[in-house]
Symmetry: C2
Subunit: 454 residues, 2 copies
Amino acid sequence: MPDRNRYLLEEARMPGQWYNIAADLPTPPAPPLHPGTGQPIGPDDLAPLFPQAIIAQEMSTERYIDIPEPVQEVFKMWRPSPLFRARRLEKALGTPAKIYYKYEGVSPAGSHKPNSAIPQAWYNAQEGVKKLCTETGAGQWGSSLAFAGGLFGLEVTVYQVRVSYDQKPYRRAMMETWGAQCIPSPSNTTDAGRAALAKDPNFMGSLGLAISEAVEVAAKNEDTKYALGSVLNHVLLHQTIVGQEAILQMEMAGDDPDVIIGCTGGGSNFAGIAFPFLGQQLRGEHGKRRFVAVEPAACPSLSRGKFAYDFGDTARLTPLVKMHTLGSTFTPPGFHAGGLRYHGMAPMLSHVADLGLIEAQAYQQKACFEAGVLFARTEGIVPAPEATHAVKGAIEEALRCKREGKAETILFCLSGHGHMDMAAYQAYFDGNLLDQDYDENELAMALSLLPQVA
Amino acid sequence: MPDRNRYLLEEARMPGQWYNIAADLPTPPAPPLHPGTGQPIGPDDLAPLFPQAIIAQEMSTERYIDIPEPVQEVFKMWRPSPLFRARRLEKALGTPAKIYYKYEGVSPAGSHKPNSAIPQAWYNAQEGVKKLCTETGAGQWGSSLAFAGGLFGLEVTVYQVRVSYDQKPYRRAMMETWGAQCIPSPSNTTDAGRAALAKDPNFMGSLGLAISEAVEVAAKNEDTKYALGSVLNHVLLHQTIVGQEAILQMEMAGDDPDVIIGCTGGGSNFAGIAFPFLGQQLRGEHGKRRFVAVEPAACPSLSRGKFAYDFGDTARLTPLVKMHTLGSTFTPPGFHAGGLRYHGMAPMLSHVADLGLIEAQAYQQKACFEAGVLFARTEGIVPAPEATHAVKGAIEEALRCKREGKAETILFCLSGHGHMDMAAYQAYFDGNLLDQDYDENELAMALSLLPQVA
């Protein structure tokens, strides 16, 4: 193996700007609507929840937005992150394809989530906010915001979906290590939580409900703002540093991806790796590439959801956003990739999908864990359950290349390591990890309950 | 913060040789003795357990030993590992000292252990060995050998100390993910294990006993060799890549360490960071520096052990080696830093300590977790319980510098991250993590039972 396996960027070459795809789209996405008036919302509507700088980013159509110097300084704890050539995986698959992966598990939280947590905490601290409130599924976002808040002197409260709170106690310990408070959702600390508990005292929770709880706390407390770990434009924007770096690293490798793959829950991880490459295509600087979003078969918002206005949360506290949605009342099964258990999909990514610029594929969790184990045994790194979906997607593309005799170049984002999710691997080896299907009737019901928008 | 926080070496600058301190010591260490004859052992005595290449390294006095190309290729999955300047920790402590840390948690196993697992597996595979057998405490070594064995097509069986097997199920899942079999020790698969269970069916195990089990399996099976994760000369040799890289990175930083710190269980992690710097001093290329080995107060082999010939294991199957020992019959309390629960200390490191070249300090685990939490809240990375001992040692030195008004440069090895040990942090936050003292009577008894050597 004479060629390199790992491509590292000099610290000085870390991109100093985020890429905003809104500048290059042929048509703008549909605007978020106020649920009361049905009219497009403005900055004032978001002011109770977010600082001004974040609201400006949410609505910006500037192509490039500067990453503040103090945010860059924190990023340099682990960024630029490495790009690897998966030579051992290629060999095991016997594929003529070249497989590259961008590895985001090198962050202190072990995932890509600090890429947005750090700037969100910094902008809030700059505007005098004292407390941040958020939700988390598997705990990757919650732990990342705990880490970020601590660095900038903010108190952080995290509502964690109860099934993950119970399944993944290690992430909770991590949030506490970084100084945050973690509360299982549904909780009795909010109206939304109490209502859910009254309906079902044993409810295992959902990201949609945890969002309701966190938003409620932020809306009711002057000194508290809300932070979201995916879905919104500014979060996708922050994650583009991943793709911006990958562009430079693919150049270092003297290669150019034909297919770009990421797993999708709320959409920010996929957008992070994909949008900078897609931007090249939209600006006519590069020919057409394939972009493949991989989602769990048990929560397939892009594959099976409706592209419609819906609420981002269960208690219907958020603005209405147009997205691929399974319905805000839909509760995904309690599978292990907790970070992908969300009923909707980022509006910007949904719009891009509606424009036919990306594809979606859905896989069951056993097949994903099988892919994760093969990856661990060849490339060493044990992927997080969420990231196994991207691995599965990449392996399927590599096997297609083998069948078709094509030496394509595949790039995927390995969004995090699985060191805190080994209980899921143990369940897989013990034969206790089963595929899970959502209830078709529940999906039909949830879709029938979508809000009516004129 | 204008200066850099992270110093990365180019892949091409990864050291191509290990450093062997045996070449530079003023006197050689006492030889290992055959327990039957009392005579120094030769290569033939070790042949049932180790491949020839490893035996040659164990006995070598060559100053530099080439790292085989295929081993270097695997290392490049994560090496060279980063060196960080701990600016946020310095600021939190208000110290004039500069603190640097070499971070080994970037390996797929999350610790420094693959540095020796990879070459050991490779040398065994080269000599046609099919199976490897080993022991593990916390699971860092066992998971690393599982990873390494898998890469080179070897079957791996790991005997894990039962208290760790129960406390740290995530590491076991990791071993299985990489394809190894993990057996709690004491087990009924060996004579040594059955004898221990007969004496106490609830025995929580010890590294010494797990070694006995693994050595027994290797000795009784033609196609099986044994691999040890610390203590022996060749393991310390393999870990010197850490210090070799750190020398180059401290030069990049334009700085020079006055104090070098590592945690010590069997001694390989500490030797890895310390020996290359100590070699400069022994060869007269550098003035005197301080080298501080930090060990758990509940298992203080350097601080409280006797420098005497002893067995490496509980069942007295190994050669006799001269080392700082608490006695091979001593069972350390079940504290969380399982990787430091060993009755002895590497003979080479013990010899270096006996020559007055290094210092030892012992701390209780609560103080170490407190240091680990401060580190996580400033530097981001959550240290493994073992590594918190090095963090504690570095903080104590930095506070001494503050008291004395000295701007010294401190370098320590952060040997691994704690993502798989978050249960220990949870216990710490819940107030369930207590300091543990060994039994003075048991220590006295164990020391009185040391073998008699003429």
